[in-house]
Amino acid sequence: MATLSLSSVKKQFGQTQVLHGIDLEVQDGEMIVVVGASGCGKSTLLRIVAGLETPSSGTVRIDGRDVTKLEPADRDIAMVFQNYALYPHMSVFENMAFGLTLRKFPKEEIKRRVDNAARILDITSLLERKPKALSGGQRQRVAMGRAIVRDPKVFLFDEPLSNLDAKLRVQMRAEIRRLQKRLGVTSLFVTHDQVEAMTLGDRLVVMHQGRAAQVASPMDVWGTPADTYVAGFIGSPAMNFLKAELAAGGRAARLQAGPTLPFADGPRPGADTDPLTIGIRPEHVEHAPHAPDALPLAIELIEPLGSETVIHGRLPGGEVLVARLPLAASAIGAVLPVLLPAAAWHIFAAGGARLASSNPSPG
């Protein structure tokens, strides 16, 4: 239906620079999830696309048309708000029809569209009710319905699931995903929840302090995070970061915890003793009772999840390591031999940026 393109969008509030130049190309029918901690500028970005804020500089294009200076109503977008923003004095039908009425659609057309959207969302029986007589999930659907009836070029979602309880959130998440695929509407979805981001998005924009730290598919963000921020933000429990330095002419890392271990995928540029950060996800830490080169992990906390157990412990150098292991039992205070397989490492330079192998196709 439409593409959305942002080029060097910046926003300043007084002295505070909230967005430092965002570039983004959204393909037709794509679901982009903007994810980041609170205060990273993700909501501001969405509001700029919606036209509720004007960027300090940069342009917003929808389907090639420059809409930077247009009113929200003239941009052909629809937005689902965090608190749904359903007009309390109007029935569900009137809420959904309001935008169409203002655009002077004929009555029959309005009724047809609202009925159609209500059928898609399974809220036909609620059309005569007032919003206060609806549950959270139903309000959520009505808010979606209000967006759908407009048949817009772009859907904007501003943390629409954050007011729902955990179970409903998972359910609505799947529903939004299905609906978005079915309607094929280009969408921008803002959330602070990384699970939501991973499951919903065709691509993610991980925002950090007003910049897009990484724009990639969920699996790419998870598999090759661009920097330590993205690496720590995506994934649960969060990735472990271990201090190390470059050794053996760039072919290995000397961990602060003791051993020097070779890289699995080729050498890194730089001189020996350059500081590094080695990232390893808790699920990649291995329990190795018989390996001679295993590291002793002193267990401090055990969180059983049922199928797996999350173990928080300390390595000999005093660094904290979290491991997610298929162990049934272990005891606090015990020492667990673990391996940190180099194939699962994420290697970051001192500044936090990912340090790629200087030899991209190792053996």
Partner: protein, 301 residues
């Protein structure tokens, strides 16, 4: 054994609590009843007094039960204002009531309309000098009608509005209190409604008419009651600006019916007029109260 003792003790404690609650209920009701008596007694005297002939009260009696002249007194008050005895000539109650209703409704509606619009401007628009406007409105709270009554009178004279309904109503219409109340209410309307309306394509007037106004119905009803009674009770300003008998309001007209010492006052007719003067505010309260209580219980968020 021990169990039984505790149970008996509990029962005794429960009885004591019950008795204490009953006693405090009685005290509360007695105080309330006393309050009702103090408030209701003058009204009772008036209602009863309006049903006796002119001589009963003229003799200095204060009857506590109804007389037989009710119909005659009310007819006299309603149609002539009891002018048969007084040489000054009285205004019939129907005309005074009509003038008062007109004035009170115009003041209430005018105040609500103006303060709704000014509060809307102050809350939802950012224009240069917005806070200056707000504070200017706010400051007028400190200047009641009485303080500015001479300049206001002069302005009305110069505009030729003496002895007219406009002259009576217009100076009383601007209302800082109502503006302030609406402003506080508008501030509680979530920004998301404003933004949703923007995306839906509603302009400022449309948003006002379709969202803000329906949400304010409860507040408008409550304010209407307060402002109607405020308007109804106006005394000083109508007394100054109106000398034409055809525009006499009931609150002022009633006091004019009470003559100086040498003339005999038709207390029965005056009391009948007073009772009639109470009816419209009471009706407004009863009617609007039902409406805004309904609005309050159906609180929507």
């Amino acid at each position: 054994m021990l169990m039984r003792d505790t149970a008996a003790e509990d029962l005794r404690l429960a009885r004591i609590t019950e008795r204490r609650q009953a006693r405090s209920r009685w005290v509360a009701h007695a105080i309330l009843a006393l309050g009702v008596l103090i408030f209701a007694f003058p009204i009772w005297i008036t209602v009863v007094g309006s049903t006796h002939d002119v001589n009963t009260i003229g003799r200095g009696e204060v009857p506590l039960w109804f007389g037989s002249e009710a119909i005659a007194n009310y007819v006299s008050a309603w149609t002539t204002g009891g002018s048969s005895v007084r040489t000054t000539g009285a205004v019939p109650a129907w005309l005074m009531l009509w003038n008062s209703v007109n004035m009170a409704v115009l003041i209430a509606v005018g105040k609500i309309a103006i303060s709704l619009l000014s509060a809307y401007a102050v809350v939802f628009f950012s224009f240069p000098g917005r806070m200056v406007c707000f504070w200017l409105i706010f400051i007028t709270l400190m200047l009641p009608v009485e303080v500015r009554i001479i300049p206001t009178f002069e302005v009305m004279v110069n505009l030729g509005l003496i002895n007219s309904m406009s002259g009576l109503v217009v100076p009383l219409v601007a209302s800082a209190t109502a503006t302030l109340l609406f402003r506080q209410f508008f501030l509680t309307i979530p920004d998301e409604y404003v933004e949703a309306a923007k995306i839906d394509g509603a302009g400022p007037l449309r948003f006002f008419k379709d969202v803000v106004l329906p949400l304010s119905v409860t507040n408008i009803a409550a304010l209407f009651v307060i402002l109607f009674i405020y308007g109804w009770n106006q005394y000083l300003w109508p007394l100054l600006i109106i000398s034409d008998k055809d525009l006499e309001t009931v609150v002022v007209g009633m006091t004019k019916m009470i003559g100086t010492s040498d003339a005999q006052n038709e207390w029965n007719v005056i009391m009948a007029t007073a009772v009639l003067a109470m009816v419209p505010p009471v009706l407004v309260v009863i009617f609007m109260q039902r409406w805004f209580v309904k609005g309050l219980t159906e609180t929507e968020k």
